[in-house]
Point group: C2
Chain length 336, copies 2
DNA sequence: AAGCCGCATTTTATCGATAATATGACGGCA
DNA sequence: TGCCGTCATATTATCGATAAAATGCGGCTT
């Protein structure tokens, strides 16, 4: 069961290992008869190149990593968009996960691990600016996600504030006056939820409505269960509301459950909008109005930046804010 | 920006590279003063081991791959269960995807790629028995998924037929008489959908009901969109039905959308049950009754088998059928 | 005091491939 | 005939780490 090496193939074909290498990599030309003998030997022995050895010597793995907090939902959907773009260049995408805990994220981002990849897409959920600043790697890297990051990194994020504003303004336009910001926070350390809160706030102000701090409802984690629990608490408290802007679709799904359990009708009693436009948003009755983050476009932008670095570009890092739009469905009154 | 190697550390500390290696790996004992000098040099230079070189020499990567058809939904959820189990052994999990196309799956499974990992969990969605039989690797490998696989592989799959029977019988018990098998097929090449169809059929026969071939409704792909479209077609055709067993929760979600759009009430007019018990099933109103595949247990079983192989076990392969149970929610009449 | 032993450390060889360089056969041309 | 260039193939050195074997030194025994 010993592995077949290039030397075995060379012996079988009666040539040197370099000739085998040249045949397989088409680096230097090889005469046809020799070439045929080598190919025959490769087939006969079932040889496959040892990628580790190649990497050590040639410094290339043709592999890109996408490092995510979890494999779930949003990241799974994004990853499925990124993969074909990476494969189009003849490279291979692998996912690693950091559990959204800073220690794990730092470990995944340790230079030792990154060495293996030709490039890295890092979704920065659990890392703050200081931690990122400690990441010193000569490898091409692009950051994704709603965080403040050091200038030297390429970075793609969403127009969070604008998206939240769109969704909130839309609900105001269709009659909501007391809109919860579910999963939002005043804590600026987490830019996703604080920027989206700011957008919610701006929509209210633009419409001349009061901003009531009680309407900002934090969640313990970004899960449907936490969204549901938080909204049930609000309902139980008796605080009146007629709209919910959920900071993500996953949380919006929890909100849908809470509203249904409480006998509140969507969109008649309460309008609801989410953020991310996950596949699921189209199908959950009555259809979830959601801010579309254009996964496809984000993926293309990020991969484009990475590709440029892998090709040797060393210009200044770019910080892209991807535009968003509102997809209106049945959970708000503008929908069908 | 040249990388710091062990030789650089050795020079800085005034020792040989082997001493550095021994300090870092704690293989042979090293005197405390020497050890301290080495650690100081490591810190001063910011040295990190080159994992590729270590792999080439030591043959170990401490990395396990989970190879999936897509990063979405079911596989994302399973992967999040598997990751902590792998990490508990001090190893690292990465995901690769095969796009559910045979060529890609074969490429991902090529011995060349597998060499990099200490072990592989392979979700066999797009591969048939013959293709799997061509996979020859000395690496520990465990197959997951609803396919017929060669005996020599360890394999974990679900009790598909029993799960489908449970779900269908439950709907019959609560009054459904004409239950569609949405996403099912008679084609035995795809065991997931044919085994689940068989379970549906058995429940009908057990209850003395007719099996109507028109009730087996295939889908073009295993997506919510395809599930919705297929069910809308049935509704448009006028074929009467009062229950839907969807072959997966993702398809059940599409069914929910189709039913809602058509003004059919769940569970009053139509009962609905899915399979997989995804997180989402708890939250989509009125709660999706679903066959629980015990992701946690499946993950533990599969990782257990893999761990055993990585520890050197060479006994015969095991073929585990994971038990399932029915989680009743509001989409069937037994629910709350 | 010679000999042996144990321990810390170094030397050597190797994992499997490939970049850079060397060799050698052959043809063309003066 | 002799010299040179060209093309195919072979040799050598190397990527960075580590297993195995070698060295060397101080202490202990008799």
């Amino acid at each position: 069961m010993a592995r077949v090496t290039m030397a075995d193939v060379a012996r079988e074909a009666g040539v040197s290992t370099m000739t085998v290498s040249n045949v397989l990599n088409e680096r230097l030309p090889v005469n046809e008869p020799t070439r045929a003998r080598v190919m025959a030997a490769v087939a006969a022995l079932g040889y496959e190149v040892n990628l580790t050895a190649r990497h050590l010597r040639a410094g290339r793995t043709d592999t890109v990593a996408f490092i995510v907090p979890s494999f779930h939902d949003y990241f799974g959907e994004i990853a499925d968009k990124i993969a074909p773009l990476i494969e189009a260049d003849g490279r291979h995408l692998v996912l690693e996960r950091t559990s959204a805990s800073p220690e794990h994220e730092m470990a995944a981002v340790s230079v030792a691990r990154l060495q293996y990849y030709d490039g890295v897409l890092l979704s920065v959920a659990g890392l703050d600016r200081d931690q990122l600043d400690r990441v010193r790697t000569p490898k091409p890297i692009v950051l994704l996600g709603e965080r403040d990051v050091p200038d030297r990194f390429n970075h793609v994020r969403l127009a969070n504030e604008e998206g939240a504003r769109l969704a909130t303004a839309h609900m105001i336009e269709h009659g909501s006056r007391r809109i919860l910001a579910l999963g939002c926070t005043f804590d600026t350390a987490h830019m996703m939820s604080s920027d989206r809160r700011a957008g919610w706030e701006r929509a209210l102000r633009d419409a001349g409505l009061d901003v009531d701090a009680r309407h900002v409802v934090p969640v313990s984690t970004y899960t449907s269960a936490a969204g549901r629990d938080a909204l049930l608490d609000v309902i139980a408290s008796g605080l009146p509301f007629d709209g919910v802007f959920a900071v993500t679709d996953v949380i919006a799904l929890g909100a849908i459950a809470a509203l249904a359990e409480s006998g509140l009708r969507v969109p008649v009693d309460v309008q609801l909008a989410g953020f991310d436009n996950l596949d699921m948003a189209r199908f959950v009755p009555p259809g979830l109005t959601s801010v579309d983050a254009d996964h496809e476009g984000v993926a293309e932008t990020a991969v484009g930046l990475l590709r440029r670095q892998m090709a040797g570009w060393t210009g200044p890092a770019e910080h892209v804010v991807a535009p968003v739009s509102l997809v209106v469905r049945g959970s708000t009154r503008g929908g069908a």
